[in-house]
Symmetry: C2
Subunit: 346 residues, 2 copies
């Protein structure tokens, strides 16, 4: 109230005194634990309300839980993440858990480690790591300390659960769509990856695999053309520049992410070509960017809210039973055709 004069917090002791019971009893009511009669419960609840009591999560954490779930986001700019967060918070709405998010630092393994440690040190009851770039051993190290769900990364582990969209299927949807329109020279822009561990687990690598498989399935194995840059707008720009320098231009470019596609569009625009008349462009993630009318990008929808909801459910499950076998959820993506894809020029 008074500037600087922070009035002392109402504690469990105040509540106990007010309700004329012990602090133990108050604690039991707080946790909905066994061992308090309905009458006592009511009395304590009333006292809590009258005093405006709110439990101090940090103190609870010293013995029990903090009722906090940490979500590490690799890149807060990626418009795909809000969907996941929405699904997450929606699924957690009627629980006592609060979600706090930490900026992981775009593709920076060290920053990611700092963030995960910071969350562990702050007593998170559970953690959700979205598309982490950390090594598998680091992920297992995190999972050993606190229940963990990995989102958007393939590869299974006994120590954590995971939720991801089926990127092989997603890539096949794009290639199928383009091939169906009559395209043969379909190029792909990938995120460069050297680490063998991650090569097998990261979405980008799996999408590239899916692209290869699908091209082969459509009898276009000879047309496979992958440029590796990064999953950023600049990466897309750079990749497209390389593709536009090819002696035989591709008639379609499948970008591994919507942001990448935005860079592609820029490069194509600068080259004086038009989309989709001269060249088709497809993205991935069906972010809000893709839906913008002036953009209207064909993309693959990963059902982000469902991913988030599944992650929340798995996490609560594991917080309740840390010993249970790990689970992997794989969700089917869908294609969202828009105005950037059309039949190739005749």
């Amino acid at each position: 109230m008074e500037p600087g004069g922070q009035s002392r917090r109402v504690t469990i002791v105040d509540v106990a005194r007010h309700a004329e019971v012990s602090t133990t009893t108050v604690s039991k009511v707080l946790r909905n634990a066994y061992g308090a009669s309905p009458a006592t419960r009511a009395k304590v609840r009333k006292a809590m309300a009258e005093l405006g009591y709110r439990p101090y999560a940090a103190a609870r954490g010293m013995r029990g839980q903090t009722y906090t779930i940490g979500v590490m986001l690799p890149d807060i700019r990626n418009p795909f993440f809000p969907d996941i967060i929405d699904g997450l918070t929606e699924a957690l709405r009627d629980t006592d858990y609060q979600v706090l998010m930490g900026p992981g630092g775009c593709n920076d393994e060290q920053a990611e480690a700092r963030m995960t440690e910071a969350m562990i040190d702050r007593g998170m009851d559970g953690m959700i790591l979205v598309a982490p770039v950390s090594s598998r051993s680091h992920l297992e190290h995190v999972a050993a300390a606190v229940p963990t769900v990995i989102v958007g990364r393939h590869g299974r582990s006994a120590s954590y659960d995971s939720v991801a969209a089926d990127d092989i299927a997603g890539a096949a949807l794009v290639v199928g769509h383009l091939a169906g329109l009559g395209h043969r020279r379909i190029a792909h822009i990938d995120h460069a990856e050297t680490d063998p561990d991650r090569l097998a687990e990261m979405s980008n690598a799996v999408r590239a695999d899916g692209y290869r498989e699908a091209m082969a399935a459509h009898g276009l194995a000879d047309e496979i053309d992958i440029v590796s840059t990064t999953y950023t707008q600049e990466g897309g720009y750079l990749g497209a520049r390389l593709l536009l320098d090819r002696p035989r231009l591709p008639t379609a470019i499948f970008a591994g992410a919507d942001v990448v596609a935005m860079g592609v569009i820029q490069a194509v625009d600068e080259a004086g070509l038009s989309i989709p008349q001269d060249i088709s462009v497809a993205g991935y993630d069906n972010t809000s960017l893709a839906a913008l009318v002036p953009v209207s990008l064909t993309s693959v929808d990963q059902a982000g809210t469902h991913i988030g909801a599944h992650a929340a459910r798995l996490l609560l499950d594991r917080i309740a039973d840390r010993g249970r076998p790990s689970a992997q959820v794989k969700l089917a993506p869908t294609l969202v055709p828009r105005r950037t894809t059309a039949p190739p020029p005749a």
Copy 2:
């Protein structure tokens, strides 16, 4: 290591034993506090490293600080916020403070209150509230509990610091730009606001005021035309639909935010008009959306990273001295003209 067998945390006691000193000494070293010889310091640091000790923030918080700063974001989808976060984390990089973000729940006062309470209960050392919609009294209630900086909201208080861009000047930049191109019928889309408190403090309202003032200053007082919807894409769409139904069409629409402008573009597109030939459109915030080549939206840049950096500095300052007088920082915006604005049709 073993599944379920979380090996006990290394504590200050272990470090003390290993270094053959008292826990007090370890604590002093940890806090860089006065009262430990260089030799002792080195010994303790070595022990910490050898044991892989990491302080447990929640426990520190029970007596001292948690070294955690909570940032409440009203809408994680708004692409303006990442810039603020970048400025914030950059400014905090070399400190011991960690940033955790909480989703505030788009324009929902209750959700906002839940989030701020949750952060206080989790022992945040300081809080940064970005464009909060809460009542002034709630903001002061938060500030009474923990050092607080309010970002993106006008109006000053003795109990908290604030950082905002000069929205009057920003609106004047847009109107000046459009008037300079020869426009007279410049309409504005605003975020509807009824609460008198917030009417004076929220950015949207101030932008509308700035629009009115600037129109008058350019001798266009008679052309003032404001449509009030919401600061969302749908709001922009709706607002534009209303404006396009006017007997005399506006030749330019100044949307109060980039996302709003995206909705405007959609409505204009559907009406079969082209931008900027038939109608000019300007946004506000210069988000990454505006820069996208297919969008290329004229907008006002608020220097989000600077806003974030200032907020961080003010907060650290106030954590160090809670009694100091409150400060208000106002930053000058700049205009970024792009392809959606041009002279009006002849």
